[in-house]
C-alpha cells in the first residue's frame, strides 16, 4: 500500500493548526473563567509555557512499561480522533484519513486513549488515580447513552454513518442543520457533550480539590506534556465532531474554527453557572432528561 504523501502533509498541517488553536483556546477559556470569577487570570499563552516547561523537564521517573505507554495511548487516541475526522466539507485534502471509517470509528477511538490512560495511570499505583479512573469510566458510560441515541437519530436521518454524508445532508441553510432539523437529538447530543468535556458540573473526575487532578496524578514532565498536547487536540477534535454532526459542518477553516469556538463555549458557560455534581449524581443524570430527549429524537426521524 502506497502512502499518499500529499494527504499526510495536509493531515499534519491540520493537526498543527488544531494543536495551536487548541492551546490558544484553552488559554482564552481560562481567561474567561477567571474574569467571571473576578480574577485577572493567566496570560493567553500560558498553555504554551506549560507545555514547553513540561517537555523540558530533566528529571523523570517511571513506574513501568504500561505507565510509560499510558500517555502514548492517550495522545494517539486524541490524534487518532482528529486523523479520522473530515475537517472541511467538500475538500478531499482536508478530509484527513476519514476514508478509513465513519463516525462509529471516531466514537470508539475516543475509548482507545481513555483505556490506555486508565491503564497507564493504574500502573502508577496511586490510589487517587484509581479513584479518578473509576469515576471517569463510570460517568462516561451514561454520558454515551444520550450521545449514542443522538448519533443514531442523525445517522438514521441522513441514511449514513459517514460524517461526510451527514454534513452533506445539512448543507443549504441553517434550517437543515441537525440542531434545527432534530432539536431533541441535538439537545441530547449537546447535553452529553457537557459530560464528554468533563467540565463542571461533571468535572468530578479530575476534581482539582479533593483528588488532585485525578487519573494523571502520577504523571509529570514529558508524560504530562503529552497529556496536555492531547487535551488541546482532543478538545478541538471533539468539538469538530459536534460541529459536523449538529451544526452543518464547515466549508472553510474560518467557519470551522468559529463554529468550534462557539461549541466549545457551551460547556464553559454551563460550567461557570453550575456547581459540581457528586459522581453518584452525575451518573444517573444522563439517564434522565438527556436520555428522554435522545429517545424523542429517535422517534422524530
Amino acid at each position: 500500500m502506497s502512502i499518499d504523501w500529499m494527504k499526510l502533509l495536509f493531515a499534519l498541517l491540520g493537526l498543527f493548526i488544531v494543536l495551536n488553536y487548541g492551546l490558544l483556546q484553552y488559554g482564552i477559556i481560562r481567561r474567561i473563567t477567571a474574569r467571571i470569577g473576578k480574577r485577572i487570570g493567566m496570560p493567553v499563552y500560558q498553555p504554551y509555557i506549560d507545555l514547553i516547561k513540561n517537555y523540558a523537564m530533566r528529571s523523570q521517573i517511571t513506574h513501568g512499561v504500561m505507565y510509560y505507554l499510558g500517555p502514548v495511548f492517550r495522545l494517539a487516541g486524541g490524534v487518532g480522533v482528529f486523523m479520522f475526522m473530515p475537517l472541511i466539507f467538500g475538500s478531499e485534502l482536508w478530509s484527513n484519513y476519514s476514508f478509513s471509517g465513519d463516525v462509529i470509528l471516531i466514537l470508539y477511538f475516543i475509548f482507545f486513549g481513555m483505556l490506555g490512560m486508565a491503564l497507564g495511570a493504574s500502573e502508577g499505583g496511586h490510589p487517587y488515580s484509581f479513584i479518578g479512573i473509576s469515576r471517569g469510566l463510570s460517568q462516561f458510560t451514561t454520558v454515551e447513552v444520550p450521545f449514542t441515541l443522538a448519533v443514531i437519530a442523525i445517522a438514521a436521518q441522513s441514511g449514513s454513518f459517514s460524517i461526510t454524508e451527514i454534513v452533506a445532508a445539512q448543507q443549504g441553510g441553517i434550517e437543515n442543520w441537525n440542531i434545527i432539523a432534530n432539536p431533541f437529538a441535538g439537545a441530547a447530543g449537546l447535553l452529553a457533550f457537557l459530560g464528554m468535556m468533563m467540565a463542571a458540573p461533571f468535572n468530578v473526575v479530575q476534581a482539582p480539590t479533593e483528588i488532585p487532578i485525578g487519573p494523571p496524578t502520577e504523571y509529570h514532565g514529558t508524560y504530562l506534556g503529552m497529556l496536555q498536547t492531547n487535551r488541546a487536540v482532543l478538545y478541538i477534535a471533539e468539538a469538530i465532531l459536534m460541529v459536523n454532526l449538529f451544526f452543518g459542518g464547515a466549508t472553510n477553516w474560518v467557519e470551522l474554527l468559529l463554529k468550534v469556538f462557539m461549541v466549545s463555549m457551551w460547556p464553559v458557560f454551563v460550567g461557570l453557572v453550575f456547581p459540581r455534581f457528586r459522581i453518584d449524581q452525575s451518573i444517573p443524570w444522563f439517564l434522565k432528561i438527556p436520555l428522554i430527549l435522545g429517545i424523542i429524537g429517535i422517534f422524530m426521524i
Binding site: 504500561m66 479520522f84 499505583g125 447513552v145 453518584d280
Partner: protein, 1043 residues
C-alpha cells in the same frame, strides 16, 4: 428343553428341603440355594436362547387338561426374558446377601426361593386364580423376608404392607370370582368378552383396580414407600426390580381383556405416579426412602408404557425394555450401593469416593436412571415422547417431562453430595467383595444394554459411534497419567477433525462450529499438560463434553442432536462438579440444563410429529405450530446461552469449575446454545407466537441480557465470575444479532461467536494461569502482576481491547456492523441498549486488568512467576488469530457471508479489498491499523527520546500526600471500586431472576414437604388410601356408569 414348570418344582423342592435342613450348616445351605436358583436361571435362560434363535415357545398344561379345565403356564419370548431376569437377578441377590443368608436361619432361605418361584409363576401363568394365589404367596414371602431381614422399623412397615396387600387381594379375589361367574373361565385368554357382559365390567374393574394398586400408584402407595424405606437393601432391590416388573407384566397380560379407554386411563394414572413420586422425592433426605419414591416413579412409568402398549405398537418393546432394563440395573445398583455405604444419610455417601470404581458405578446408575445418554432409558424416553407427540398427547408429554426434571433434581442433588460430602472416620461402610461384585455386574449389565440399544438404533458411524467409542475409551484408560491422557485426547480430537473434515468441507456453517468445538477443545486442554498425577475423572468427561458438542454439528436426526446435547450437559456437569466449592452451582447447572433439554425434547416431539425424525427436516409447518416449536427451541437454546432470567446457573458453574476446566465449559461449551440458535433462525426464519413476532422479543431479551450480564460483571470481585458474567453479556449481543434476522445480523452473530470464542477462551486461560500462580480468585488480593507475568498481561490487554470493540483490533468490526445493522433494521432503542452495555463493559474490563496486573504488588506475590508454558501456548495462538482478524477481517467474513441464506432480508456487506461498505457506512481495517500503528509508533519514539533518562522507581515511590504508604493492601484500590456506580445504578442489578428461581424452588419444596405428610405412616390410613384410589379410578374409568 426342560419344561418351564420345573422352575416351580425346583423352587418348591428346594424350599421344602431347606426347611427340613434345620439350623445347622447355613453355609452349605446358602450354596445349595445358589445352585437351586442357578438351575431355575438355567431353565429360563435356555428358553430365552431357544426362542431368541427362532424356536417356538411352549404352553404348559398342568394336570394334563387344557384350559379352562386346568391351569396353564406359558413360556414365550416375554416370559423367557422376564423369568431370566428374575432368576438371574435372584442369583446375584444371593451373592449380594450372602452374609445375611449365612447368618439368618434356614427359613429365610426357603422364603427367598419361594419368593422367586412365586414371581416366576406370576409371570408365566395364564390363570387368574393361580395368579391370585401366587400374588399372595409373593406377598407372604415378602412379608417373611421383611420380618427376618430388617430392623425394627421394618417390622411395622411389613405389617402395613400386609394390611394393604390383604385389601388388594380381597379386591382381586372378588373380581376373579365374579369374572369366573360371568365367563365360566379363569383363563385370561378366554375372558375377552368379560367387559361386554352386563356386570362383567365391574368384575373386570375389580381385577384391574387390584392389579393397578399392586403397581403402587401415587398416592395410594404409602405402604410401598414404607416398605422400601425399611427393607434391607437387597430386599428393597428385589421389590423394586422384580416384584414391580412382574406385576407390570401381569397388567400387560390382562390388556387384551381391558377395554382401550381403560388402558389409557391406567396409563395416564401411571404417568401421574411418575411425576408426583419424583416430585415428592425432591424433599427426601433419607436415601432409601428416596429410592423408594424413585422406584414407585419408575413403576409409574412402566405402567404408563404398559397401558400404552396397543398405542405404541411396534415401539412398545423398545420403550418397555428400555425402562425395564434401566430400572433393573440402575435401581438395583443404587440399592446395592446403599448396602455397601450402609447409611441412609446422604452425607455419608462420600465414602464411595474411596473406591473409584464404585463411584463410577454410582455415576452410571444415577445417569442411567435419570434417562441420560447413552443409557437405555434415554432412548426409551425419547421414543415414548416422540410417539406421544405423534398422537398429540401434549399433556402427557408435559407431565412426563416435568416428572423427569424432578427426577434429575433429586438424583443429581445426591450425585453432588456423593462427590462432595466430607468423609468421616467411622463410616459404617461395608466394602465386602461379595457386595461389590454383584454391583459391578449390574454396571456391566447397563453398559451392555446401552450397547444393544445404540446398536439397534443404527447411528451414523462417523458422527455418533466413533465419538461414543472415544468417550468410552477414555473411561477405560482413566488410570493412565494425566500427561498421556492429555496427549491422547488432543490426538483423538485432531484425528477426529481430520476425519470429519472431508464430510463437512462443503458446509462452512458446520465447519465453523466443528472448528470452534475442536480447536477450542484442543487449546483448552493444553494447560492440562502442567497437571500432575492421574487427574482421575477429568478426561473421560472432557471427552464426553467435547465429543458431545461435536455430535451437534452434523446430526442426522433429532435424536442425535439431542443425544449430543445431553452428553455435553452430563460431561460438563461433572467437570464443573470437580471444582472445590462446586456442589451447589453444579446442581443448579444440571437443573437448568435438564430443564432446557426437556423443553427441547417437547419441541422435538412436535417437530417429529410433523416433519419426521430427520434433523430439522421439512420445516414447512403450519404457522402456529412452527411458532410454538420455535419458541420452545429458542428457550432451550437461550438457556444454554444464558439469556437474562435463565442465566443464574452460569456464574457459579463457570467460576467454581476447576480453573483449567473453565475455558472449556465456558468459552467452548456456551457456543452450543449459539449453534442451536443459529440453526433455528436460519432454518425456521421469523415466526410468530400468538401474533407476537418471536424474533422481536428475542431482540429485547438479547439487549437486556447484554446490559444485565455486563452490569453484573462490574460488581464482581471474583475473577472467574467476572469473566463468566461477561459471557452472559456477549451472549446477549449474539442473541440480539440473530434476532435482527438480516444478512448483516446473521453475519454479526457468526462473527461475534467466533470472536467471543477466541477472546473468552484466551481470557479464561490467562485467568487460569494467574490463579494457578497466585492461588486466589479474588482480584483485590492480586495487583501489580504485570512485572512478573508480562505475557499474561499482554494477552489480557488484547483480550479486553477486542472485547471492548475498540479499534484497531478485531472487536471493532463487530461494533461497526452492529450500528449499521441497527440503523438498517430500525431497532434504535434496543440498539442503544446494546451500545450502552458495550460501554458498561469498559468498567469491568478495566477492573479486570488493573486490579490484577496494575497497581500495587502484594507481598505474598513477590515471587510469583509467569504462567506455565502450557498455559501460554494456547493464549498466544489465540492472540495471533485476533491479530490476523484485526488486519484482514475479510478473510473470515467473506467465507461467513457465503453461508448466509439468500432468503435473508437486508443488504450484504460489500468488500473491496480491505474496505467494507454498506449503504450506511464504511470501514477499512487495514488503513485504521496502519494509521494507528504509525501514530503510536511516532509518539512512542517521541516519548522515548524525551524521557530517555527516566529513572525506574520502587513500588511505593508515589506522590502520596507526603506520606509513604507502608502496605500494598492499603494502597491498592480494587475492592468495590465501582461503589459509586452501584449507588447510582445498582438497582439495575437487583437479582430478580435469582430471587424468582429461588422462590420458585422454595415453593416447590415447601409444597412437596406438605404433600408428603399424606403418607402418615399409619397402616390403616394407607388402607383407606387404597379404597379412595379405587373409587377415583372407578370414576375416571367409568364416569360412574359401569353397572
Amino acid at each position: 428343553m426342560v419344561n418351564p414348570v420345573h422352575i416351580v418344582s425346583i423352587g418348591l423342592a428346594a424350599a421344602f428341603l431347606m426347611s427340613l435342613a434345620g439350623k445347622r450348616q447355613q453355609n452349605i445351605l446358602a450354596y445349595f440355594l445358589m445352585i437351586a436358583v442357578g438351575a431355575m436361571s438355567f431353565i429360563s435362560l435356555q428358553w430365552l436362547m431357544e426362542i431368541y434363535s427362532g424356536g417356538a415357545g411352549r404352553e404348559v398344561f398342568t394336570a394334563g387338561f387344557k384350559p379352562p379345565f386346568a391351569i396353564n403356564l406359558r413360556m414365550t419370548m416375554d416370559e423367557a426374558v422376564l423369568t431370566s431376569i428374575i432368576n438371574i437377578f435372584g442369583l446375584f441377590s444371593i451373592i449380594y446377601l450372602f452374609d445375611t443368608f449365612k447368618k439368618a436361619n434356614n427359613h429365610l432361605l426357603s422364603i427367598f426361593i419361594i419368593y422367586l418361584m412365586g414371581l416366576n409363576v406370576m409371570v408365566m401363568t395364564r390363570d387368574l386364580f393361580n395368579l391370585f394365589v401366587f400374588l399372595e404367596i409373593v406377598a407372604i414371602a415378602t412379608a417373611g423376608m421383611m420380618i427376618m431381614s430388617s430392623d425394627k422399623k421394618g417390622i411395622s412397615a411389613g405389617f402395613k404392607f400386609l394390611i394393604a396387600s390383604s385389601v388388594i387381594s380381597g379386591l382381586l379375589l372378588l373380581g376373579t370370582l365374579f369374572g369366573y361367574t360371568y365367563t365360566g373361565t379363569l383363563n385370561i385368554d378366554m375372558m375377552q368378552a368379560l367387559p361386554l357382559i352386563k356386570g362383567g365390567a365391574v368384575a373386570l374393574f375389580l381385577i384391574v383396580v387390584a392389579l393397578v394398586l399392586e403397581t403402587k400408584p401415587f398416592p395410594a402407595n404409602g405402604w410401598a414407600l414404607d416398605l422400601y424405606t425399611s427393607a434391607n437393601h437387597g430386599v428393597g432391590a428385589m421389590l423394586s426390580v422384580l416384584s414391580a416388573p412382574a406385576i407390570m407384566f401381569v397388567v400387560y397380560k390382562m390388556l387384551p381383556v381391558i377395554p382401550q379407554d381403560w388402558q389409557l386411563v391406567i396409563s395416564f394414572f401411571g404417568i401421574i405416579t411418575f411425576a408426583a413420586s419424583n416430585y415428592l422425592a425432591i424433599r427426601q433426605e433419607n436415601i432409601r426412602r428416596m429410592l423408594g419414591y424413585s422406584s414407585v416413579a419408575q413403576g409409574g412409568l412402566l405402567l404408563a408404557t404398559v397401558g400404552l402398549a396397543d398405542y405404541l405398537g411396534g415401539s412398545f418393546y423398545f420403550v418397555a425394555l428400555g425402562f425395564l432394563l434401566t430400572n433393573l440395573f440402575a435401581k438395583a445398583g443404587l440399592f446395592w450401593l446403599g448396602g455397601i455405604v450402609n447409611s441412609d444419610n446422604m452425607n455419608k455417601w462420600g465414602i464411595l469416593r474411596k473406591k473409584p470404581v464404585l463411584l463410577l458405578l454410582f455415576g452410571i446408575f444415577a445417569a442411567a436412571l435419570a434417562g441420560l445418554p447413552p443409557f437405555p432409558a434415554f432412548f426409551a424416553k425419547w421414543e415414548l415422547v416422540m410417539q406421544l407427540g405423534a398422537g398429540e398427547g401434549w399433556g402427557w408429554i408435559a407431565i412426563m417431562l416435568i416428572g423427569s426434571l424432578f427426577e434429575i433434581a433429586f438424583l443429581f442433588k445426591w450425585v453432588g453430595r456423593v462427590f462432595k460430602a466430607e468423609n468421616e472416620e467411622n463410616a459404617p461402610a461395608n466394602f465386602a467383595m461379595h457386595k461389590q461384585i454383584p454391583a459391578l455386574l449390574l454396571g456391566a449389565g447397563i453398559i451392555a444394554a446401552s450397547y444393544f440399544f445404540i446398536d439397534y438404533l443404527n447411528f451414523n458411524l462417523t458422527f455418533v459411534l466413533i465419538p461414543l467409542l472415544a468417550i468410552a475409551a477414555f473411561f477405560v484408560i482413566d488410570y493412565a497419567p494425566a500427561f498421556i491422557k492429555n496427549i491422547l485426547l488432543i490426538g483423538a480430537l485432531s484425528f477426529y477433525g481430520y476425519m470429519i473434515y472431508p464430510e463437512l468441507q462443503g458446509d462452512i456453517m458446520k465447519l465453523v462450529f466443528a472448528g470452534i468445538f475442536l480447536i477450542g477443545g484442543v487449546l483448552t486442554l493444553f494447560p492440562g499438560f502442567s497437571a500432575k498425577g492421574a487427574r482421575k475423572g477429568f478426561y473421560p468427561f472432557a471427552a464426553m463434553t467435547i465429543f458431545g458438542l461435536l455430535m451437534l454439528v452434523n446430526p442426522a436426526d433429532n435424536l442425535t442432536f439431542f443425544m449430543g446435547w445431553e452428553l455435553m450437559a452430563l460431561g460438563s456437569f461433572i467437570l464443573i462438579l470437580r471444582g472445590k466449592m462446586a456442589e451447589k452451582p453444579a446442581f443448579r447447572y444440571m437443573l437448568f440444563s435438564a430443564g432446557g433439554a426437556y423443553v427441547m425434547m417437547a419441541a422435538f416431539a412436535m417437530l417429529n410429529n410433523i416433519s419426521g425424525a430427520e434433523f430439522f427436516g421439512n420445516i414447512n409447518i403450519p404457522a402456529n405450530t412452527a411458532g410454538i416449536i420455535f419458541a420452545l427451541l429458542a428457550i432451550a437454546f437461550m438457556l444454554k446461552a444464558a439469556a437474562i432470567g435463565l442465566h443464574i446457573w452460569l456464574p457459579g458453574a463457570y467460576a467454581e469449575a476447576e480453573d483449567d476446566a473453565t475455558p472449556l465449559v465456558s468459552g467452548v461449551l456456551i457456543n452450543s446454545g449459539v449453534l442451536g440458535l443459529v440453526l433455528l433462525v436460519t432454518s425456521f426464519g421469523p415466526q410468530t407466537l400468538f401474533g407476537y413476532d418471536i424474533l422481536h422479543i428475542m431482540g429485547w431479551i438479547g439487549a437486556i441480557t447484554a446490559i444485565g450480564g455486563n452490569m453484573l460483571a462490574i460488581y464482581e470481585e471474583d475473577m472467574k465470575r467476572l469473566i463468566a458474567y461477561s459471557s452472559v453479556g456477549a451472549m446477549g449481543y449474539i442473541i440480539f444479532a440473530l434476532a435482527i434476522n438480516t444478512k448483516l445480523g446473521l453475519l454479526i452473530a457468526l462473527y461475534y461467536t467466533i470472536l467471543h470464542f477466541i477472546y473468552k477462551t484466551m481470557l479464561f486461560i490467562s485467568a487460569a494461569g494467574v490463579m494457578h500462580r497466585t492461588k486466589t480468585r479474588n482480584m483485590y488480593e492480586m495487583g501489580g502482576l504485570i512485572k512478573s507475568m508480562p505475557l499474561s498481561f499482554i494477552v489480557v490487554l488484547i483480550g479486553i481491547i477486542t472485547l471492548a470493540g475498540m479499534p484497531p483490533l478485531a472487536g471493532f468490526a463487530g461494533k461497526w456492523m452492529f450500528y449499521n445493522a441497527i440503523i438498517l433494521k430500525e431497532w434504535y432503542i434496543q440498539g442503544a441498549m446494546i451500545f450502552f452495555s458495550g460501554i458498561v463493559a469498559f468498567l469491568y474490563l478495566y477492573k479486570l486488568i488493573s486490579s490484577v496486573f496494575l497497581g500495587q504488588l502484594k507481598d505474598n506475590h513477590r515471587k510469583v512467576k509467569e504462567a506455565p508454558f502450557y498455559y501460554i501456548i494456547p493464549q498466544l495462538i489465540l492472540v495471533m488469530a485476533i491479530m490476523v482478524l484485526s488486519v484482514q477481517p475479510q478473510w473470515l467474513m467473506q467465507p461467513l457471508s457465503t453461508i448466509i441464506p439468500a432468503s435473508f432480508a437486508g443488504e450484504a456487506l460489500q468488500w473491496d479489498g480491505n474496505l467494507a461498505t454498506l449503504s450506511t457506512g464504511y470501514w477499512n481495517a487495514f488503513t485504521i491499523m496502519s494509521v494507528v500503528m504509525a501514530m503510536f509508533g511516532i509518539l512512542f519514539l517521541w516519548l522515548v527520546y524525551h524521557s530517555r533518562k527516566a529513572q525506574k522507581v520502587k513500588q511505593f515511590n508515589i506522590v502520596f500526600a507526603a506520606e509513604k504508604p507502608f502496605r500494598p493492601e492499603t494502597t491498592h484500590v480494587s475492592y468495590n471500586i465501582f461503589a459509586a456506580y452501584k449507588k447510582a445504578l445498582g438497582w439495575m442489578v437487583t437479582p430478580l431472576a435469582t430471587r424468582f428461581w429461588e422462590r420458585l424452588s422454595d415453593i416447590f419444596t415447601a409444597i412437596a414437604d406438605k404433600f408428603r405428610t399424606w403418607y402418615t405412616g399409619n397402616g390403616q390410613t394407607y388402607a383407606l388410601h387404597l379404597l379412595i384410589y379405587a373409587f377415583i379410578l372407578y370414576i375416571a374409568i367409568s364416569g360412574g356408569k359401569l353397572l
